[in-house]
Symmetry: C2
Subunit: 323 residues, 2 copies
């Protein structure tokens, strides 16, 4: 499959590069690294994303050239759909992108069902960026400093700063090689993790006051009301990452974040340490996710939802203890 | 020098292993990795530290065998002084340790003046743990999983979670090799970074309310009073890391933490991004440190000290801007 993709690159002249909506560091880093390579190989490439680039990724070299209007699909020889387990993940332009002559999917999601013929999938890879490193090695193309910066960002962010279980020897080795090629770990980390909007930090301070511990202090939760968003000037996306905080307390195995939504529902985000399963709890409330990270949306006022969900988490922990 | 150290290990039978007071992940990880190797080589080894092990490092394999009373110095063939730029850094037992037959210093601090004959110093190494990896490779000793866990912790923590400028290709490569040998990045990170005492998180919430921005929002500061420590049940060491917070705000180049001390002084910690120099400011108030991290202790009440130090930081930024 790798050779087929290399052939597609060598034969084609004009490429679309895209990734999933709700952009993250792996989606953007992979897109822009591939863009850097294609451009260096004197190909025409366009990076298209439905959504705007989050502020902390605007430092990525090439990000200024990303377009938010899809050019006519017939102008492309092939489209690279990166970090997507399904074509729909690219957003509302999926049907038009589906019409491009040749689709190439490069991805690392275990749930990938194979939506096109040409798919390079490795669920063991830390990130799509790591798979792209292999493509470049196989093509004998050494990443330029901009490409190395983008690929390092992809691996860094998808491993949660080399923190999650996907921090494999291969991920660290690839990161090492990218630093050799010009990626600057300090500068990249400062840009990704140290460019919070002020409102986000104010929100953090306000929300920490809602910290509650339940279930013999094994369950920590925080609550974001619409009132606190208004008071701190924060937007709903500024709640990203807050759910990780209670879990940083010694003895807390499950973190829960309750956020009042625009409608009458409460968004419930769950995180756990080690082998504690929160996916089961989210599923019981109509949501889903993974063992260590899951979410659901629950109808009701915030106090009632908190009582119900916390009770479910506590009895899930008790059931695991009995096993 | 490497060969001389290997000879000392092979010839000796009984070793002391120690590191600097105010233990950190590199000091402890390096000590316990060396301890694991010496034990595996059927040597007798004792790890001595003046200070207690911080709670978040008690997961390190072997930590339960560390002693806080120095055995008679004459019982040791050699002493390994790890991660110390001067012998005094080991604490009050430095004079007795100085009497041990053979001293071996393994360190990565640029300020190391060479306090004994046998010194393996590499200021380019991310950590003493990284240097120890090389010693083990040279000895043809493959780290056991406990040793790999300790060495990974050393590299992880001294690079600030692969975040600081010392995140070199070599540091990432060594980390990769340690994962191959059994270090579990997720489990280690959870233990090191996600085992905060509850009081520390309560303190964080309370202190975020004191966030102030000055100098066109390029200087962010937080203040810890004795009153807030009492109210949240936090200890002075729980302020560790708070100084990094204002720097995570977009546009903030300098972070300052003001902490009321037991005496009539204020402890001032300074951090900066990129090339902004805070060492100069700390020095002006009788303190010191590095370009990106410095500290000083200033006599006076907290409001007055804040005014003075913030003014000095702002004019230092203005002076840099003119350069």
């Amino acid at each position: 499959m790798l050779q087929k993709i290399i052939d597609i690159i060598h034969r084609g002249r004009t490429f679309l590069v895209t990734a999933h909506e709700r952009l993250d560091g792996d989606a953007l880093g992979s897109e822009l690294a591939l863009y850097a390579m294609l451009t260096d190989l004197r190909k025409q490439a366009v990076v298209y994303n439905q959504d705007e680039i989050p502020g902390n990724y605007r430092f990525l070299p090439g990000s200024e050239s990303i377009v938010s209007a899809l050019p006519p699909p017939e102008t492309f020889d092939a489209a690279f759909i990166l970090d997507c387990s399904e074509l729909d993940r690219v957003g509302r332009e999926a049907p038009r992108i589906a019409g491009i002559r040749q689709l190439v999917n490069i991805d690392h999601h275990v749930s990938n069902g194979g939506f096109c013929d040409t798919v390079l999938l490795d669920p063991k890879a830390s990130s799509t960026g790591e798979i792209l490193c292999r493509v470049m090695t196989a093509m004998n193309w050494a990443p330029t400093p901009p490409a190395a910066t983008c690929l390092y960002t992809a691996i860094l962010t998808d491993t949660g700063g080399f923190h999650y279980g996907n921090t494999t020897p291969e991920a660290l080795m690839a990161a090492s090689g990218l630093v050799v090629r010009g990626a600057d770990p300090q500068w990249i980390s400062e840009n990704v993790y140290e460019s919070n909007p002020l409102a986000k930090i104010r929100l953090l301070g306000a929300v920490l006051g809602t910290l509650a511990l339940d279930g013999d202090d094994r369950v920590g939760s925080l609550t974001v009301t619409r009132e606190v968003l208004a008071r701190t000037g924060a937007a709903p996306e500024h709640t990203d990452g807050l759910v990780d905080l209670p879990r940083t307390i010694r003895g807390v195995d499950v973190s829960v974040l309750f956020s009042e939504m625009e409608d009458s529902r409460i968004k419930v985000s769950l995180r756990s340490k080690g082998r504690v399963n929160v996916e089961r709890v989210a599923r019981a409330f109509g949501g889903g996710g993974h063992v260590n990270a899951a979410a659901c949306r629950v109808e009701g006022d915030v106090d009632m939802v908190k009582r119900k969900v916390i009770a479910a988490v506590v009895s899930s922990l008790e059931a695991e203890g009995r096993r």
